[in-house]
Symmetry: C2
Subunit: 380 residues, 2 copies
C-alpha cells in the first residue's frame, strides 16, 4: 500500500547512460520528517544540507540524482546542492528549506547542472502515484528494485532503497526513503527512525565500508487522518527498514545469498555477530557453500568478547533444516557434503550461542568472484 498524499517521479536527465537518474518525491501537504546520515568524516554537501533541512523541520520533498555523488567537489558542490533544492522547490512551489537533497554516484566530479535543471523540470511534470520511476532513479548497479511496505495501525508505511552497487570509478552509497500517511503528532519521529535504523541498516554490512553519501529519510504527512500510536509507528517503520536492509544485503555486489548472523550471549552479542559477518574468511566459505565452523569460531573469538568454548553451540539453518556444527566444547557429527548442499540456499542463518543472554542479528552476504570483478574491473 502506497501511503496517501505522496507523489513520485523519475526521469533520465543524462547523468547516467541507460537508466533513470533523477527523482522527485513530494508530500502534497506539510509533513513531519526525520533523517539518519552517514557517519563518514568525508561526506557530500547534500548530507550536511539535508541534515539542516530535517533539523529545521518542514521537509516535504526530496530531490535525488544518481550517476554523480557531488562529493569532494568543494564550494561548487555546496552551491550545486543548494541549487538542486531551489530548482525542485521552484518546480514544486515549495520553499527550498522544505526540500531534502540526495546524490549517489561518482566522487570528485562537478555536477552537470543543466542536465539536473532539465530533469527536475521534466520530473515535476510527471509526478504521480506510481513510485517505480522514482525507485528506478535512485538505483545504480543494483540488480533488483528494493521496496517494502507495512501498516502503522490504519495508516501505511512505504519505503524504497538503493544498495551498494558500485558506480565507476568510485564507491557505493546506501539511500533509503520512507514515507507514511500516518499522523504522528506528539511522537518523536527522529528517535523512532534512529531506533529502526539501528536495528536494520546499522545491522547490515556488505563489506564494512561506509559511503560519503548514505542517507535514510522519513516523511510523515498525516494524509490518512489516522493518528498512529508510538507502537504502531515503530512497528511500521522498523518493518520497512528491516525489509529494505535485508534486500540491500541480499543484493550486495556479487552476492549469491543473504546471511543472517544471529548471536546469543550475555556480553555484546552484536559485536560478535558483526565480527563474523565482516570476516572475509567466513564470507568466502559461505560463497563456497562450506560449513566451516573453524572460521566461524575464529571470527567469534577475535571479537574481543570473552566466552567459553564449552558453552558454545553453533548451527546453520539452510534449506529448511538446522545443521548443528559444534556443541559441548567440540565439533558435532555432521555430514559436510549434506550441509554443503543445504548451503546452496539463498538464505542462510548462522546461529551461534555463546552463553545465556540477549540475541542480536547482523545481516550480510557472501563474498565471491563477482565482488572482485565489480570492484576491480569496473574501469575496463
Amino acid at each position: 500500500m502506497i501511503p496517501a498524499g505522496f507523489r513520485f517521479a523519475g526521469v533520465r536527465c543524462g547523468l547516467k547512460n541507460k537508466r533513470n537518474d533523477l527523482g522527485l518525491l513530494v508530500s502534497d501537504r506539510p509533513a513531519a520528517s526525520a533523517g539518519v546520515f552517514t557517519s563518514n568524516n568525508v561526506r557530500a554537501a547534500c548530507v550536511d544540507y539535508t541534515r539542516e533541512v530535517v533539523s529545521k523541520g518542514g521537509m516535504r520533498a526530496i530531490v535525488v540524482n544518481s550517476g554523480n555523488a557531488n562529493c569532494c567537489t568543494g564550494l561548487q558542490g555546496e552551491r550545486d546542492t543548494a541549487r538542486m533544492a531551489e530548482l525542485a522547490a521552484c518546480a514544486l512551489r515549495l520553499d527550498p528549506g522544505q526540500v531534502g537533497v540526495a546524490s549517489t554516484g561518482v566522487i570528485g566530479q562537478i555536477l552537470d547542472m543543466s542536465k539536473v535543471e532539465r530533469g527536475v523540470e521534466e520530473a515535476a511534470g510527471l509526478l504521480g502515484d506510481d513510485p517505480r520511476p522514482f525507485m528506478d532513479a535512485i538505483l545504480t548497479t543494483d540488480l533488483v528494485e528494493k521496496q517494502a511496505s507495512a501498516p502503522a495501525g490504519r495508516a501505511s508505511v512505504y519505503g524504497v532503497a538503493k544498495g551498494s552497487g558500485m558506480i565507476s570509478p568510485n564507491m557505493a552509497t546506501m539511500l533509503a526513503f520512507v514515507v507514511t500517511d500516518a499522523a504522528v503528532d506528539g511522537l518523536d519521529l527522529a528517535s523512532i527512525l534512529r531506533d529502526a535504523a539501528d536495528n536494520s541498516f546499522n545491522c547490515m554490512t556488505v563489506d564494512g565500508d561506509t559511503s560519503t553519501n548514505d542517507m535514510l529519510l522519513v516523511i510523515a504527512n498525516g494524509a490518512s487522518d489516522y493518528q498512529a500510536s508510538e507502537e504502531e509507528l515503530r512497528a511500521g517503520i522498523s518493518s520497512v527498514c528491516l525489509s529494505l536492509a535485508k534486500q540491500v544485503a541480499r543484493d550486495g555486489e556479487g552476492a549469491t545469498k543473504l546471511i543472517e548472523v544471529r548471536v546469543t550471549g550475555s556480553e555484546d552479542p552484536k559485536k560478535i555477530a558483526r565480527t563474523i559477518a565482516e570476516s572475509p574468511l567466513v564470507k568466502t566459505a559461505m560463497f563456497g557453500c562450506d560449513p566451516n565452523w573453524g572460521r566461524l569460531l575464529m571470527a567469534a573469538g577475535r571479537a574481543g568478547v570473552p566466552f567459553c568454548l564449552e558453552d558454545v553451540r553453533l548451527s546453520l539453518h539452510a534449506g529448511g533444516d538446522e545443521h548443528v556444527l559444534f556443541e559441548n566444547g567440540g565439533p558435532a557429527p555432521f555430514d559436510p557434503k549434506h550441509v554443503s548442499v543445504a548451503l546452496k540456499s539463498d538464505n542462510v542463518l548462522v546461529d551461534l550461542v555463546v552463553g545465556a543472554g540477549s540475541t542480536e542479528s547482523i545481516y550480510t552476504c557472501d563474498l565471491g568472484y563477482g565482488y572482485v570483478r565489480i570492484n576491480a574491473e569496473y574501469h575496463t
Copy 2:
C-alpha cells in the same frame, strides 16, 4: 648470518601430504626467551602451553607441526600438546618446561601422535646449522619461504615465519620464530619483542582475521659472547620482524602486491591507515591497478578520526614515481592510465597526509580472485 649455537631440523612425518610438517629448533645452551601470542579468545592448547613455558623462563627449544592446528580438540588436545613437548624434550635431553610448542593447520581434528612421535625422533637425529628444513616444516600454502636476518651489534638476529596460507578446511596461522646469539643480560627481551611486534606483525593485515594459533617467539642464547645494548637488540629484532611481516603480507592469499599504507596526522594516524588497509573496496581497486582516490578517502573518512578535507594530500608511490591524486581540497590533475600502469608494480605505497603530526604505516596486500578461489574452493 645464522646466529651461533642454534640447530634446526625439519622432516615429513605425514600430517600433510607433500611437504615437511614437523620442525625442531634448539639452542645448544641455556637461553632467554619471550613470546607474543594470539589475542583470539578461541585458541589452541599450544598457545597457552607455550605462554606458560615462556613466562617461567628457560625456553631453549621449539617443536612445531603443520597440517593440524590441534585447536578445539578439548582435553585430548591439551594432553597432545604436553606430549609433543615431552617427546621433544626427551629427544633433545631437555626438560619439557624448556620446550615451546606451536601448531598450524586444520582445526578440530585430533593430532595423530604416532606420526608426531616418529617425526620428533627423526628430526632430532637430523639437527644441523641449515634452517631451511625447519623453515619448510612450518609453511602451509605459503608460496615463498620467509626468512630475515639483521645484526645486533656484533651478534646476529635471524627469523623465519609462515604466513596466512590456508589449510583445508580451516584458517590461517601466522608463526614466527626469531633467534639471536646476542647476550641479553639485563635487557627486557619481552618488552623489546612486544615493541617489535607492535611495529611489524601488528601493523600487517591480510584480511583482518586473527588465527587461533598465532605465535611469535624469540630465543637469545648469548653464543656470540657479545653483550648487545638495548638499542642494538631492538634494532636487530625490529628489523627481522618488520621484514618477515612484509613478506607475510606480500604473500597474502591471492596477493599480487605489497601495499604500505602510510598516514601522517595529529590524531591516531594508525587507525586511519588500518581502516584503509582493511577496506575491501580499496584492496580490490589495488588489485585492479586503479588509482581510486575516492575509495581511499572514503576509507580514511570512516575511521572515526576527524580531519579536514582541505588539509588532505594523497599520493601513490609506485613504479619509481610519486603520483599525487588529491591535494588542496580537491582532486589533483593526473592521468589515470599512466598511474594505472605504475600500479602494476608489486610494491605500492599509499601516502596520505591529513594534517601535521606523526606518521604510521600498515602493511597489507590487494584482494583478487585468488583470495576467493583459495578460500571458497579449497574443499573441491
